[in-house]
Subunit: 345 residues, 2 copies
Amino acid sequence: RPGRVPRPAMANEAGISQEVVVESAPASLLRGLGDSDGGMKAKFEKMIRSGQDEICAAVEALDGAKFREDSWTREGGGGGISRVLQDGNVWEKAGCSVSVVYGTMPPEAYRVATGATDNGKSGGEGRVPFFAAGISSVMHPRNPFAPTMHFNYRYFETEPWGDFPAQWWFGGGTDITPSYIDAEDLAHFHGTYKRVCDAHDPEFHPRFKKWCDEYFEIKHRGERRGLGGIFFDDLNDRDPELLFDFAKDCVAHVVPAYLPLVEKHKGDAFTEAQKEWQQLRRGRYVEFNLVYDRGTTFGLKTAGRIESILMSLPLTARWEYCNEPEAGSPEADLLDACRNPREWV
Amino acid sequence: RPGRVPRPAMANEAGISQEVVVESAPASLLRGLGDSDGGMKAKFEKMIRSGQDEICAAVEALDGAKFREDSWTREGGGGGISRVLQDGNVWEKAGCSVSVVYGTMPPEAYRVATGATDNGKSGGEGRVPFFAAGISSVMHPRNPFAPTMHFNYRYFETEPWGDFPAQWWFGGGTDITPSYIDAEDLAHFHGTYKRVCDAHDPEFHPRFKKWCDEYFEIKHRGERRGLGGIFFDDLNDRDPELLFDFAKDCVAHVVPAYLPLVEKHKGDAFTEAQKEWQQLRRGRYVEFNLVYDRGTTFGLKTAGRIESILMSLPLTARWEYCNEPEAGSPEADLLDACRNPREWV
């Protein structure tokens, strides 16, 4: 595959070199990167890679089909492992990837990312070197009663720049996008992440639940793409070890929070109209990801590996003109919950 | 319908008031707007409205199904007529709308739109009043051998602002998005618009054909969404009457340039794999429109009537991970032409 696809003109703007497909994933994607941060880079990579293995194994066991794996590295350092299960028995499309990226970001991006505008400090010359590692996943089941689920956990570092010291932060979240409301499912999913949050800080869940409802808004529609979960970003307000443990715990709870819901609904009977409603909601998912999602829009602008960035998109989606569900229907109830976020636990 | 959909928070940012659905379209959407420009506003509205009538009548005659019409006005002035034929016999979704919008734009948008940065002139205080009228259409046929077609013609005015005088310009274009190359079809479509251009200025076609190939690039993929046509913007380099005549001629040639292609292919036999390829190309169409198209992204940001803005999206679309057509196949040929624009006449 390398060399067959033209490299978009903007691909070098982020100082990220072209990816090269490799036979199999190396033991570490860090490739000799320094450990000035006490090993967090290596530790985070290890955590997301074993998370990817465990989650993919659980999904394969439920689906019966296997993930395809593509590994790639970059000359400048870093790389990734993309895994996609397409046209499965239970999932239409399920992707779960890890990546490690080094590059340089323009000062404006740095300022936005770190809030580096305060106290009269000024930045240095030129671009700011950064490191980012993350695990990212979206799973779209076939059955309209089985919800779509997304999660992403990432660790970010920037090098010292002008008057600003080196910075680091964690970000991530897990959220759910059903086409139909099943209150029991939602209590299970949100309850699982509430328990995870509460074990680390009782303030986490209310704060991250609200952040999630705000982040996933499709602003031009005044509705969320789904029914939330947790979301956080720029988190660096305590010992990085504590935040690492929290992120690790979140990754470890993807399977118990989500898979029972798919197991429960994978064989549900459904009508053509219910399938079309699911497809319409998938259209909303596409709208959110292409227009608002930070990871996707950043990836498109920096011309990362496009197939990995867009593997979050559903296999199929639908847009009907002026579709408005009948008042009092289950479809209208879902839409109302997307417009007015609710408490589920 | 009015009042049922929550108005997105950002809806007032463009100084555009909420649309109100009306029983039927008023004779003019201008509603007493002044005629300081020698009647161009009224003349342009008349042209796009009769263009809409003619094109919709021709499409209905070929399809057998009827367009649904929604008319709306705004308290502050302006309004629109949206027509959509969904789930037709020949077209999956065909939309053709006219709109007249008045509002105010922020200085930055004005500078981008008019290039108002030169000669040491400075702008005035606050926002800049503008007027925009246009016709816009996208038609997605069912048969994978019948191409999708888009056109849009618009007239724009801004009021005097600081040191800058009142400004006006024309923009627009017609372009085609086949899933399979039929050289005869492409010679007919591009040839028709070449003749239209040549009748007005022999420099128009080479310039607007190239502009079209550049404009419709999906930058993150290094490929165009389709096989081009003509595109122009900010055109004000001659008597507005001459540019009006050109725009009118372009609208008048939508039917002869496009409908014969659909007539020819509407009954072609096709396989499931060919239908899936069409759906993948529709996915690319969605990517372009949501990420790059100026009209769509402007509309989403200013919270115009969302159903009208997004009626350009196909009824259904598809995203497969790492789809790459077999070398030498008709699908690979189409993709190559999207990556490396060709001459068709």
